[in-house]
């Protein structure tokens, strides 16, 4: 199948949508499909062979943060040329309601268009101000995919339409085969040692790092040799660590994709104390793929990924004492940790990229069948 994918954000800036597009494209290519990705990039920027540059992205304040976007007549012309030359069977755009290449591609495309909605943007300006505009865009989209239950609910409630839920993929082998960092996780036996891990923006309150710190301040004194392996962007000086926690913390800073996998292979327990705002919980599937038993807040999104608590332990949101108990119980019980990791390995197989990409291909085929034509066969787009 010939597939055109549009990524609205620059591939040189790390982000969930960009990683998703890259992994999906590479998985589909490995399955034997022809894939071209249109993304904002300079012409002289080094790019993977399957990416077509759509020109420099412009920083635009959007939805409370700064997005780097392409929009305007030159981008529109490039998008039309890419569509024309690509001779695609199906067009797959990401986040089509942001003013971006994705929106331009939807408006200039003919035939079957599949769109993936990543964020659960309930208060987006596009939705608030542009309901009629959104309708014109949405009626050109044949198949809608939401990456989480929350994103799907936004579709149903605010955009007046269905969406099939297909989760974010994870490259299981990349995590499962990573080499642990030298000297980690170290000894872990009843009453002694054990490494817990945390990865993410620890300065951001909703990531719940302070809850983990309070739990550790409680349990570390009872447990000699217990350590925290911490990674993420930010400055450790910005958080207030009690001395007992500070002296047993190893801080890796911001880690590469490679080191992230190695870090997750280096812990006895991975902790996700998030207090909210997570629509999917990508980090959980990554920890599960790495074989790290997970302890997570009982958020709906986490509960779903952790198979109701069978593929990882859950604790009440914000409850540091419960978290501390769960951590101690699990560090004492190697058998239970193995059980959780084994069940997690079975659960995470459904999130492996080849499995997820096969589900996406079903949507492509359904969209082509629904319209009875491919993108290259479609009627010419209305000029307006």
């Amino acid at each position: 199948m010939r597939i055109g994918i549009v990524c609205p954000y620059s591939l040189d800036v790390p982000g969930g949508v960009q990683f998703h597009v890259r992994d999906l494209a590479e998985t589909l290519i490995a399955m034997g499909h022809e894939v071209s990705v249109l993304a904002p990039a300079d012409d002289d920027q080094p790019l993977p062979p399957y990416v077509v540059a759509a020109g420099r992205a412009v920083p635009v304040p959007y939805n409370g943060s700064v997005a780097r976007l392409n929009f305007g007549p030159i981008s529109a012309a490039r998008t039309r040329r890419w569509l024309h030359q690509g001779d695609f069977d199906v067009l797959h755009v990401h986040e089509p309601l942001t003013p971006s290449l994705s929106l331009l591609a939807v408006m200039s495309a003919r035939g079957p268009v599949v769109a993936t909605f990543h964020t659960a943007m309930t208060r987006s300006r596009a939705l608030a101000a542009g309901a009629p505009v959104a309708r014109v865009v949405l009626e050109r989209i044949t198949g809608r995919i939401a990456v989480s239950e929350l994103a799907r609910r936004v579709q149903v409630e605010h955009l007046d339409g269905g969406a099939v839920e297909i989760p974010n993929g994870v490259s299981v082998a990349h995590f499962a085969d990573a080499e642990p960092l030298p000297g980690w996780p170290g000894e872990c036996r009843p009453g002694y040692g054990g490494t817990v891990g945390f990865l993410g923006r620890f300065t951001e309150p909703r990531k719940g790092f302070d809850i983990l710190v309070r739990a550790l301040a409680e349990v570390m004194p009872q447990r000699p040799g217990m350590r925290l392996l911490l990674a993420g962007p930010g400055d450790l000086d910005e958080v207030d660590l009690p001395p007992v926690v500070a002296e047993r913390t190893t801080f890796l800073g911001k880690v590469s994709e490679e080191d992230k996998a190695r870090m997750l292979r280096s812990v006895d327990l991975y902790i996700a104390p998030n207090t909210g705002g997570e629509s999917f919980g990508m980090i959980l599937t990554e920890a599960m793929a790495a074989g790290a038993p997970v302890v997570a807040t009982d958020l709906d999104a986490f509960r779903r990924v952790l198979d109701g608590g069978r593929a990882g332990a859950l604790f009440p949101n914000g409850d540091a004492a419960s978290l501390g108990e769960a951590v101690i119980d699990l560090l004492d019980d190697g058998e239970r940790r193995r059980e959780l990791a084994e069940h997690a390995e079975r659960v995470v197989a459904a999130y492996d990229w080849p499995v997820v990409a096969a589900r996406v291909l079903e949507v492509y085929n359904s969209a082509i069948e629904a319209l009875g034509e491919t993108v290259s066969q479609g009627e010419p787009p209305a000029q307006w």
Partner: protein
């Protein structure tokens, strides 16, 4: 000449209105054609699902009373008249839900996959019918009867056919 501005203004207005009407008529046509096409795609996915269910009934469930019931439901779905098709398809969904389908077994996997494809086809059909109905209701479309070429599209109202053993 003082009348000239008026002439230009009126001509420009007529051009704008005519373009908008043409665009709207094209949109109404496209949405109706798409809804009809999605209806045919949904029909073919429903037939595939019923066929997969019949194969499962005759192979894995051969000799089992549940297999006979499933086969009967699959036949009923294939033979249903248009006015009781929705009910027949829902019966088939209920029958399939009663089976513990093994995704490792090819005939079971085929039914699970076919059910997923029905769910996708139905969702796309529903979205396109909604868009077509929305376009029909617009005042301009009703005033100029731009929808007169097309029969009013109807939803295909069935329960979610997705099977839990995914």
């Amino acid at each position: 000449m003082p009348g000239m501005e008026w002439v230009i203004g009126v001509v420009a207005l007529v051009v704008v209105i005519a373009s908008y009407v043409t665009w709207t008529a094209g949109r109404v046509d496209r949405l109706h054609l798409r809804a009809a096409s999605a209806g045919r795609a949904l029909d073919s996915q429903l037939v595939r699902r019923a066929a997969a269910a019949a194969v499962l009934a005759e192979t894995e469930l051969a000799g089992d009373p549940a297999g006979d019931d499933l086969y009967a439901a699959a036949r009923a779905a294939l033979d249903a008249r248009e006015d009781d098709r929705e009910a027949s398809e829902n019966d088939l969904t209920r029958m399939l839900r009663k089976q513990a389908l093994d995704p490792q077994e090819p005939n079971g996997a085929a039914v699970i996959a076919a059910s997923r494809r029905v769910a996708l086809a139905r969702q796309m059909h529903t979205d396109l019918v909604r868009a077509a109905l929305g376009a029909r209701e617009r005042p301009l479309v009703r005033l100029l009867r731009l929808n007169r070429k097309h029969a009013r599209p109807a939803y295909f109202d069935i329960d979610d056919p997705t099977l839990s053993a995914v």
